[in-house]
């Protein structure tokens, strides 16, 4: 009998014998977001991890500014910046092993890139040449998901399937504070807990769902508290503290691997930019609020610790800067090229085999394209 069958078995319960089915106390999140940087515990953190995180955060910030610049040059249709959230996204990528799966939302291109995905492949959705610019199975990164929270049940199903097959695979699903109001968030967490699926949910609470602040989104004590209702632990962590997020996620991944079931992690962070380049954040928040977060910037927090420990020398700084600029230059150059488009691709992957009706429609488009080519040829 499997774990699932034991948990699912019907157990008669006489009415007077009521008691909580599980003790809620161990599931409760800490009262304050968990922090490492700026505390005594930071001194014990491995210096290689600090330096690696710092390098990736600086590259990540540069990736965000470069992608935003590409929208102004018309090379990206839209870009939802994750500036301010780099610590959460990069820690998410660092917490996963090669065989694990990442389930990102549209704001999580940085997590995908930090996991090793080619930045151009991560951006085809936002450039508009194809919805998913990479093979999800090859990278174990699910398609960037736009309908909020709808990818969370996929993470649960995939993790559940992997466990049924006896594979050591954990799924990490990313969602925002707004996404926690969606029905799929609830259903995914419930299924994950009932099935004890090896999945970790990371909520990046960046304060806003486009313009709507968290206070209008939920009346919960914290988003991490929602875990208790599903019977899984909730962890509250400072989302700008890369070391803390990495530690909490790594713990949750270990727990999932060991058969301990799912964890909900709320990373408290802040969206420094507008929702996207098409949004105007001055309509719903004050500059003073944004400025207040600058002192708690993820790169600033990390550099304070590195400075304290004498690790932020000019050699490291210039190496990190050069790496970030090289990435940005490569991204700029490749995004400035015109993507190769074949309109006939529209019909290629609707079904495994084209239906008769789609073959007819493809033939019509082909004829239109040939007529266009002829017209251009005649005009030359």
């Amino acid at each position: 009998m499997t774990v699932m069958e034991q948990r699912g078995a019907y157990q008669p319960a006489p009415p007077p014998a009521w008691q909580p089915r599980t003790d809620p106390a161990p599931l409760l999140p800490d009262a304050e977001p968990y922090r490492v940087l700026g505390t005594r515990a930071a001194r014990a953190v491995d210096q290689d991890l600090l330096l690696r995180l710092h390098g990736e955060l600086v590259r990540g910030r540069r990736y965000n500014t470069q992608a935003t610049a590409l929208t102004k040059q018309g090379r990206l249709a839209v870009y939802p910046s994750s500036t301010g959230q780099e610590a959460s996204q990069i820690a998410a990528a660092f917490a996963l092993r090669e065989q694990d799966w990442l389930f990102p939302s549209y704001r999580d291109t940085l997590a995908a890139v930090a996991r090793g995905l080619d930045p151009v492949a991560a951006l085809t959705l936002l450039r508009g040449d194809w919805h998913t610019g990479y093979d999800p199975r090859e990278h174990r990164i699910a398609p960037l998901c736009t309908p909020l929270a709808t990818q969370l049940p996929h993470a649960v199903g995939l993790a559940h399937a992997a466990r049924l097959k006896g594979d050591d695979v954990v799924a990490l699903a990313l969602v925002g504070d707004g996404g926690t109001s969606e029905g799929d968030f609830h259903e995914a967490l419930n299924f994950a807990a009932v099935w004890q699926a090896p999945v970790v949910f990371l909520v990046q609470n960046n304060g806003f769902a486009i313009s709507v602040p968290l206070a209008k989104q939920t009346a919960a004590p914290s988003l991490a508290h929602k875990a208790v209702g599903y019977g899984m632990p909730g962890r509250l962590v400072d989302g700008n503290d890369a070391v803390a997020v990495h530690e909490v996620l790594a713990d949750a991944v270990r727990r999932a691997r060991a058969g301990g079931g799912p964890t909900l992690v709320e990373a408290v962070t802040y969206r420094m930019e507008a929702h996207t380049n098409a949004d105007d954040a001055t309509r719903y928040r004050q500059d003073a609020e944004v400025d207040a977060w600058r002192d708690h910037d993820p790169i600033v927090l990390l550099e304070r610790e590195l400075t304290e420990r004498g690790l932020l020398d000019e050699e490291h700084r210039s190496a990190v800067r050069a790496s970030a600029e090289a990435m940005a230059a490569d991204l700029r150059e490749r995004m400035n090229g015109e993507p190769a488009l074949d309109p006939m691709d529209l019909f290629t992957h609707v079904y495994a085999e084209q239906t008769t009706q789609l073959r007819e429609q493809a033939a019509r488009l082909r004829a239109e394209l040939e007529a266009e080519d002829e017209a251009h040829g005649a005009g030359r």
Binding site: M4, G8, T132, R137, P153, N190, T348
Partner: protein, 334 residues
Amino acid sequence: MTTVAVKPATMGQALGRALRDAMADDPTVHVLGEDVGTLGGVFRVTDGLAAEFGETRCTDTPLAEAGILGTAVGMAMYGLRPVVEMQFDAFAYPAFEQLISHVARMRNRTRGGLALPLTIRVPYGGGIGGVEHHSDSSEAYYMATPGLYVVTPATVADAYGLLRAAIASDDPVVFLEPKRLYWSKADWNPDAPTAVDPIGRAVVRRAGRSATLLTYGPSVPVCLEAAEAARAEGWDLEVVDLRSLVPFDDETVDASVRRTGRAVVVHESGGFGGPGGEIAARVTERCFHHLEAPVLRVAGFDIPYPPPMLERHHLPGVDRILDAVARLQWEAGS
């Protein structure tokens, strides 16, 4: 020579046998849904599967349709072949976002990288005295979503063969089960299931020369009954069982209508925006010069599904079909 044990079986039993055989043949086939395990489903289609294959292969899920379909998507992403049961037509609506935004387009958005071989079983249609929200004909919603196959059996043999084909398909299939045919019986040998055409082939259930009735699922037996009754009026009606709404078998339909010159589409779904509009338009576009009369539709009324004591007035019956046949301009061309 071996004797073949042919005995009466219901459509529900044939569907259950199809699930069982698919699970026995392929360990990646998993059944999940509400009450499908211990109970065997509210229509008992999954009866015995949990006992035979264990609860990890036939799983009682929490009561949440989007969660059922959403987790099935993840399972299919990892190489399993899930078969989900939506308990009733109208209970499938919470899963529509998963169906439309993910199931139908995952292959397309990933350029074939993530195909989803999953089957979504949906009991549909009326005629069983179901109270509100238990009798919808939801096929038009599914038909309007590119990337899905939409299949519905009308016979016991097809129930088995089409469900096996659906589970074997590498594309997602919405498998619509006509509720009022669950208890329909036919002589059927479960040990030598009928060979079935691949998904996408219609079949002529009754050959005739006067006019073609184009129909599917629960309306097929009604049309066959109408065709028998029509003999008294001197009409020899052909009945085409579409079996697959997507992909649509234009070839079989066109051949029949070109032969008879007249066509009536019959279904329970409402007429406005219903499948019959698409079918009538296709037939008119493709067979115009063979037609002696406009293609007519006999459909459910354009009303919310009625309460059970009134549903007989809503569902297309023999008389309504014969009235339509009578309006096929018999005097004009002949």
